[in-house]
C-alpha cells in the first residue's frame, strides 16, 4: 500500500508508540494522585509539555494546554476568546478554514456575531488587503490557518499578527496550525500570535490528542469545566499515554523538519512534475511556491475525483479528493470553490500528501501508473471533444 493521504492522518511513528506503551500498561496511575506510583506519569506529563513547548517555540510550558484533538483546540480558542470579550461582536476568518473552525463561526453568527470571511485568489493565496480593510476596533477575534489542508498553501500568519496588533491591539489572533505542525517551522516566539492549535495525528502521534498554545496575555474560558487539570483550563483526567505520544512526536517532528523541507519536498515535486508531464488532463490547482512541502493538489479535467480515488485504491494508492461525491455532504470542496477552480477540474481534484515515511519507489509507482488510470477513465467521459482538444494542447 502507498499512503499519500498524510493530511488526513498519519501513521504512528514506531518510536512514538514505544514511548506510549508503558503508560497503556504498567504505568497507569492518575498523575494527580499523591503516591509514588503516580510520580512517573506526572513527570512524563511535564516532559511532554516541555517537548510541545519547544516544538512551538513557546516561552513557558504553562502556555501549553493539552486537548483531545485539533477541533477541541480550535473550539476552546474561539469560544474562549469570545466569552472573555462579550462587548465585541465582530470576527474575521477565511473562507478556506477547516470545518471545525468555519462551523464554530457559523454557530456564533446564529448567536448574533458578525463574521467576515476573507477570500483567496486562484492560486489559493489569502487576500490580505481584504483582511486589513475588514479589521475594526470591535473585532474580537481574527483566525487564519497557518497552512491549508487541501492545497497546502501557507498563509503569512506572522505578518498578519503584526498587522492586527498594529491596527487593533486588543483583537485576539488564533492560528489553526494543524496542517503546518511538523511540515514547516511553527514557532510562536517573537510573533504576535495569541493562540495556536495543533493536532497530534497529523504528525505521527495517535488520533485523540492535540494541544493549544495560549499567550499569557490572552484570556480565555475553558470549554470543559470540571477538575483542576490543565490549570483549570481543560478538565478531565489527562490522557497520559497519548500526551506522551504527542510529546515524542513533536520532538521527532522538530528533528525531521530539515528532512521534510528538503527530502519530502523533493519527492512531492517529483510526483507533481511526473504527473503533470505524463498525464495530459492534469493541472496544478495551486501556487507552486509557498506551500507546505508534502502536499500537492492536482485537478484531472473531465474525470470525477471519487472514480479516480477508487481506481487508485485498486492499485493500492491512498489519496483524497475535493470532489463532492467523496463526502456525505455532496458539496465539492469549499476551498477549491473559493479559489474559483473551474468546474472542469474541480470535481476531479486529487490531493496527494506525503510524509517522511514516503519513499521514492512509491512515488515512482504512482507516476508510472497514473497515465494508464487516466487513459482508462477519460474513455468513460462524455467530454471526448474537450479531452481531444486538451490532448492536442498538452499531449
Amino acid at each position: 500500500m502507498i499512503y499519500l493521504d498524510n493530511n488526513a492522518t498519519t501513521k504512528v511513528d514506531p518510536q512514538v508508540l514505544e514511548e506510549m506503551l508503558p503508560y497503556l500498561s504498567e504505568n497507569y496511575a492518575n498523575p494527580s494522585s499523591m503516591y509514588d506510583f503516580a510520580k512517573k506519569p506526572a513527570e512524563t506529563l511535564k516532559k511532554a509539555r516541555v517537548q510541545v513547548r519547544d516544538f512551538l517555540g513557546a516561552n513557558n510550558e504553562k502556555e501549553i494546554y493539552f486537548t483531545s484533538c485539533g477541533s477541541e483546540s480550535a473550539n476552546t480558542a474561539i469560544k474562549g476568546v469570545i466569552n472573555c470579550n462579550k462587548e465585541k461582536k465582530h470576527i474575521i476568518t477565511t473562507k478556506v478554514e477547516h470545518p471545525c473552525v468555519l462551523n464554530t463561526y457559523k454557530s456564533l453568527e446564529k448567536q448574533g456575531y458578525e463574521v467576515d470571511y476573507i477570500g483567496v485568489n486562484s492560486r489559493g493565496e489569502l487576500e490580505i488587503e481584504e483582511l486589513k480593510e475588514k479589521l475594526r476596533k470591535d473585532t474580537a477575534l481574527v483566525s487564519v490557518m497557518w497552512a491549508n489542508n487541501e492545497t497546502g498553501v501557507i498563509y503569512p500568519v506572522e505578518e498578519i499578527a503584526e498587522m492586527i496588533k498594529t491596527r487593533s491591539p486588543e483583537t485576539m489572533f488564533f492560528v489553526d496550525a494543524v496542517q503546518a505542525g511538523g511540515k514547516i517551522p511553527v514557532n510562536v516566539k517573537d510573533t504576535q500570535i495569541d493562540l495556536l492549535g495543533i493536532s497530534g495525528h497529523k504528525f505521527h502521534a495517535p488520533k485523540g490528542v492535540g494541544a493549544l498554545y495560549v499567550k499569557p496575555s490572552a484570556r480565555i474560558t475553558p470549554l470543559i469545566n470540571g477538575g483542576h487539570q490543565e490549570r483549570g483550563m481543560r478538565a478531565g483526567t489527562e490522557n497520559v499515554p497519548y500526551i506522551v505520544g504527542l510529546g515524542k512526536a513533536a520532538e521527532l517532528a522538530q528533528n525531521s523538519l530539515d528532512y521534510e523541507l528538503k527530502e519530502v519536498k523533493r519527492l512531492r515535486d517529483r510526483l507533481e512534475e511526473g504527473i503533470l508531464k505524463n498525464v495530459f488532463n492534469a493541472r496544478l490547482n495551486t501556487s507552486i511556491t509557498n506551500r507546505v512541502p508534502n502536499t500537492t493538489n492536482i485537478g484531472f479535467e473531465y474525470v470525477e475525483g471519487e472514480l479516480i480515488l477508487l481506481h487508485l485504491s485498486d492499485l493500492g494508492i491512498c489519496a483524497s479528493s475535493g470532489s463532492a461525491c467523496t463526502s456525505g455532504s455532496l458539496e465539492p470542496s469549499h476551498v477549491l470553490r473559493a479559489m474559483g477552480i473551474p468546474f472542469t477540474a474541480l470535481h476531479g481534484s486529487i490531493r496527494f500528501s506525503l510524509s517522511r515515511f514516503t519513499t521514492e519507489k512509491e512515488i515512482d509507482y504512482v507516476i508510472e501508473h497514473m497515465p494508464a488510470v487516466m487513459e482508462k477513465l477519460t474513455k468513460i467521459s462524455p467530454f471526448q471533444d474537450e479531452l481531444d482538444a486538451l490532448r492536442k494542447l498538452r499531449g
Binding site: Y302, V303, E304, G305, E306, L307, L310, H311, D314, S323, A324, C325, T326, G328, S329, L330, E331, P332, F343, T344, H347, K379, I380, S381, P382, F383, Q384
Partner: protein, 280 residues
C-alpha cells in the same frame, strides 16, 4: 468509505458498453459538468427493440456503475419495457446503493427519459404519458445539496401549499437558501408541476373518459378485488363520475366511505381535482 455492493465495484472497475454509437437511434443526456455528474446514453433500435446501448459518464464510482448496468438492463428489451425502468430498478439491479448515492440511479432514469422524449417528441402522446407518470418515482434526487432537500420534498411542498415562486419554496423547505445553485432546478420543478396541473385541466372529454377508465381499471379495481369486490364505470357527466360497486362491495356498509376516501381521492389525484364520484 462508501459501502458499495460487489456489483457496484464490479461495474465501476469493468464498466460494460462504454463509448458512443455513431448510428444511435436514441440519445439521452442527464446531469452537467458543473453539478459533478453527467451521463450520455446511446441506444440502437431494431423496430421497437433495443439491440445495442452504450454510455459515457462523468461521475463517481456509483454513477459509472449505474450507467453501465443500465445499458445491460435495456439491451434486448422493447421500448415499452424500457419506459417502465425506474431509478429504483437500477439501484436494485446493483444490489442497492448508499442512500446519498441514490441520485446516481436517478441520473440513469433521467437520461433514459431524455432519450425517450427526444425520440417520441415532446408533444407526442407517448412522451406526455411518461412525463405524467414520472413524478411518482423521481423522489430521491437531491436538488438542494446544501440542505439535502429532495425533488419529492419540493414537489410535495409545491403541491400541498400551492407554491408558485422559488422564494416560497426556499421558505417552506430551505432548498436554495444557501449557495443558491439549485434555484434553476427548483424553478423547473415548479414549472413542471404547474404544467402538469394545467394539462389535467385541459383534457378533452374523450381523453378524460379514457384516463378515468384507465385509472379505475389499473389503480382502483385491483384494490377492491383484494376484498372480493369490484367497480364498474357507468357514466361520466362533466366532473361527475358515476360508478357501480359490485361483488362484496355492493352490500358493504362502508361503501360510501370507499367511494369518497378511496375511489374519489385517487381519481382526484390522478385525473382531475374537481371529480365527484357517485354511486348508481
Amino acid at each position: 468509505m462508501w459501502d458499495y455492493s460487489e456489483k457496484v465495484l464490479d461495474h465501476y472497475r469493468n464498466p460494460r458498453n462504454v463509448g458512443k454509437l455513431d448510428d444511435a437511434d436514441m440519445i439521452g443526456e442527464a446531469g452537467s459538468l458543473a453539478c459533478g455528474d453527467s451521463l450520455k446514453i446511446y441506444i440502437k433500435l431494431d423496430g421497437n427493440k433495443v439491440i445495442d446501448a452504450k454510455f459515457q459518464t462523468f461521475g463517481c464510482g456509483s454513477a459509472v456503475a449505474a450507467s453501465s448496468i443500465l445499458t445491460e438492463m435495456i439491451i434486448g428489451k422493447t421500448l415499452d419495457e424500457v419506459k417502465k425502468i425506474t431509478n429504483k430498478d437500477i439501484a436494485r439491479e446493483l444490489d442497492g446503493l448508499p442512500q446519498q448515492k441514490m441520485h446516481c440511479s436517478v441520473m440513469g432514469r433521467e437520461a433514459l427519459e431524455d432519450a425517450l422524449k427526444k425520440y417520441y417528441g415532446e408533444e407526442s402522446e407517448e412522451w406526455q404519458e411518461i412525463e405524467i407518470a414520472e413524478h411518482a418515482n423521481a423522489g430521491e434526487k437531491i436538488i438542494c445539496t446544501c440542505f439535502n432537500v429532495t425533488e419529492n420534498q419540493i414537489w410535495e411542498a409545491v403541491k400541498v401549499n400551492g407554491l408558485k415562486t422559488v422564494e416560497e419554496v426556499t421558505n417552506y423547505t430551505k432548498a436554495g437558501g444557501a449557495c443558491g445553485r439549485c434555484k434553476g432546478l427548483i424553478k423547473d420543478i415548479i414549472d413542471t408541476y404547474l404544467k402538469k396541473e394545467a394539462k389535467q385541466q385541459e383534457l378533452t372529454p374523450t381523453q378524460k373518459i379514457l384516463k378515468i377508465s384507465k385509472v379505475i381499471e389499473q389503480n382502483i379495481s385491483p384494490e377492491l378485488q383484494k376484498d372480493g369486490g369490484d367497480i364498474e364505470l357507468v357514466d361520466i357527466e362533466g366532473d361527475v363520475v358515476k360508478v357501480k360497486l359490485t361483488g362484496m362491495c355492493s352490500g358493504c356498509k362502508n361503501a360510501s366511505m370507499t367511494l369518497k376516501n378511496f375511489v374519489e381521492s385517487i381519481l382526484k389525484e390522478k385525473v382531475d381535482n374537481n371529480i365527484v364520484v357517485e354511486q348508481v
